[in-house]
Amino acid sequence: MTGDDMYRYLIKRILLIVPTLFGAATLVFFLMRLIPGDICVIRLGSGGTSFTEQALSECHAALGLDRPLWLQFIHFIWGFCRLDLGTSMWSGRPVAYEIATRFPVSLEIAVFATVIAVIIAIPLGTISALKQNSWTDLAVRTFAIAGIATPSFWIGIVSLLAVLNLTQYFFGQPWMPPINYVSVWQHPLRSMSIVILPAVTVGYRYSAVVMRMTRSAMLEVLREDYIRTARAKGLVNRIIVNRHGLKNAMLPVVTVIGIEFAFLIGGLVVTETVFNLNGIGRLLVQAIGNQDYTLTQGIVMLIVTIFVLTNLVVDVLYAWLDPRIRFA
């Protein structure tokens, strides 16, 4: 591929990001305001105390909720353009700060889950396809179906119990992963011990999805004429599978990995709850429950941005894998 082609392709893709982000921003802004409820009512009325009209309108004024809707919208968009997400209506702290404290643990889980899923799924999916309908294939497919059918909170609870019981049994002392998150960069081992169980829990389902995609893509590719050509050239199986098969089969697999990864960033609520981790998923649920517009908008925009960037990476990988896209 010449640098020029790739460059043009990238520019095209990056330009497409702008309208996507704007659309998402508009949606989240208005959808949030469609949900009945009022953050000031929740704040003032918590604990069952009564409050005056006066206090309510003061609260609205303080949060800027008394201004016309379009003004609020422009304020939000303009802030987003300057990468300023404002302050949380609930805590009064900067949204960026709230996100920064809660995001790393979710990201780490998502990244580990992806690594686990890919390491397990691609070899198993490939073997499964190569030995279609054998016992190996059957075992792999059963493993995959179980992964998709079992709710991850259940796997989470069971694995947590298993760790408790096994450590009790072997060391005489039950061990639980620590709850307070520390970054991988500071304490790699401690950090890993926190995220490994949740990562395996979601990674299992994740790998099941990727495995099934790898298997079916590989089965399809193995029937292609160019595989027959490769065999007619007398190539060894390893080269036929790796060079001719996998590179073609990876196209749909990369898409699935991208979608699942982006989904994990905001979709870990249940897992975070089971493992009692303060991740971004739980923060989002709290923010919505509190009618905290600014925080919700900030988190949603973060998730959308990650989604869009993941898509960009997938597109670039696609172009790298498939010359027909690069030169289109």
Binding site: D225, K233, P323
Partner: protein
């Protein structure tokens, strides 16, 4: 000793509808440097036979169930998988029908040629690339250095088929099997590709098995021809003899169904009537008899084997071949 001696080859597909005996006792020979054509309707087992020669029948559902394939004195059916890999792409090159899908879309043309050389010749990267450029010139591709870096979708169908041919001849094979190499191409390109293959096989001294629907191709390029029907060879002989004096009613029908250059313009072409037989339920009689104008009661009782007629080396599997051939000559 012929280069290739196929003896009573059987191959079948196991499908939901039953066993399909796609290759049902096929025997033929190919001498060194010779061009042998295999013709027949769609579904007559031409591709299945060709793929069986390299043991490339998709398994499952396909399987070679019997026979011998003597190539250069060795029975290919007895070779280990590793020995067979040396034959594939090394001693025998293959060209497929679909140039559009037979090349890997995500690998460069160069890589798809050099990997064969690396596999069989143990060539290093630069040596293989030099040879690849040579090969591209040999198959008539201009500016080979640039083409090597391109991908299949950047080339026309005719060019891709030239690439397939380059791959097939890369390791100086003794035999090239071409399964309908021109069917997917424009008529003008077809002639170019056929001329190229004829020229290359002569230069390399390689034998060629060419599978085709096109009897004109046979007359022009083949030394000998085998006509297949329902998984069997029903007529076999020198190309000119089969083309001018067919002895099997099926061959005659096949010839009447295409325009011919060696006859005055016919008033019309006769498509072969009826359907090709359902291979899952063939009986002991001649498989062509339901569609045959000359069928008699005896045709249902016994399947005729290939028998020599008046000309040496010209065989047909028909009970009435002598009288039919005579009748055809009288009619002319």
């Amino acid at each position: 000793m012929p280069l290739l001696d196929v003896v009573d080859l059987h191959a079948e597909f196991r499908t939901g509808l039953g066993r399909v005996p796609a290759v049902n006792g096929v025997s033929f020979t190919v001498d060194r440097g010779e061009t042998v054509a295999i013709v027949g309707e769609s579904g007559s087992g031409k591709s299945a036979s060709a793929l069986s020669l390299l043991r490339l029948i998709p398994d499952p559902p396909g399987r070679i169930t019997g026979g011998r394939i003597l190539f250069d004195g060795r029975d290919l059916l007895q070779l280990s998988e590793a020995e067979m890999r040396q034959v594939r792409g090394g001693d025998i090159g293959m060209v497929f029908q679909e140039p559009m899908t037979s090349l890997n879309p995500v690998l460069t043309i160069g890589r798809q040629i050099t990997e064969t050389l690396e596999q069989h010749r143990g060539a290093d990267r630069t040596g293989a690339e030099r040879r690849a450029i040579e090969l591209l010139s040999l198959v008539g591709i201009a500016d080979p250095g640039r083409r090597l870096k391109q991908y299949p979708h950047q080339l026309s169908g005719g060019m891709r088929q030239r690439i397939m041919i380059a791959i097939a001849i890369a390791c100086d094979p003794k035999l090239i099997i071409a399964d309908e190499p021109t069917t997917a191409l424009d008529v003008t390109i077809q002639a170019q590709i056929l001329e190229l293959m004829k020229d290359l096989t002569r230069r390399l001294g390689a034998a060629l098995i060419i599978i085709t629907h096109n009897l004109g191709v046979v007359a022009r390029y083949a030394n000998r021809v085998n006509v297949m029907y329902a998984g069997r060879i029903v007529e076999s002989g020198p190309a000119a003899a089969v083309y001018r004096r067919p002895r099997h009613p099926y061959t005659m029908a096949l010839l009447r169904s295409v325009p011919r250059i060696d006859r005055p313009r016919q008033s019309r072409l006769d498509p072969i009537l009826g359907q090709p037989p359902d291979l899952t339920r063939v009986d002991d009689g001649c498989a062509f008899r339901p569609r045959c104008r000359f069928a008699i009661a005896a045709c249902a009782r016994r399947r005729p084997t290939l028998m020599a007629g008046r000309e040496a080396g010209h065989l047909a599997a028909c009970l009435r071949q002598d009288e039919i051939a005579l009748g055809a000559e009288m009619a002319l």
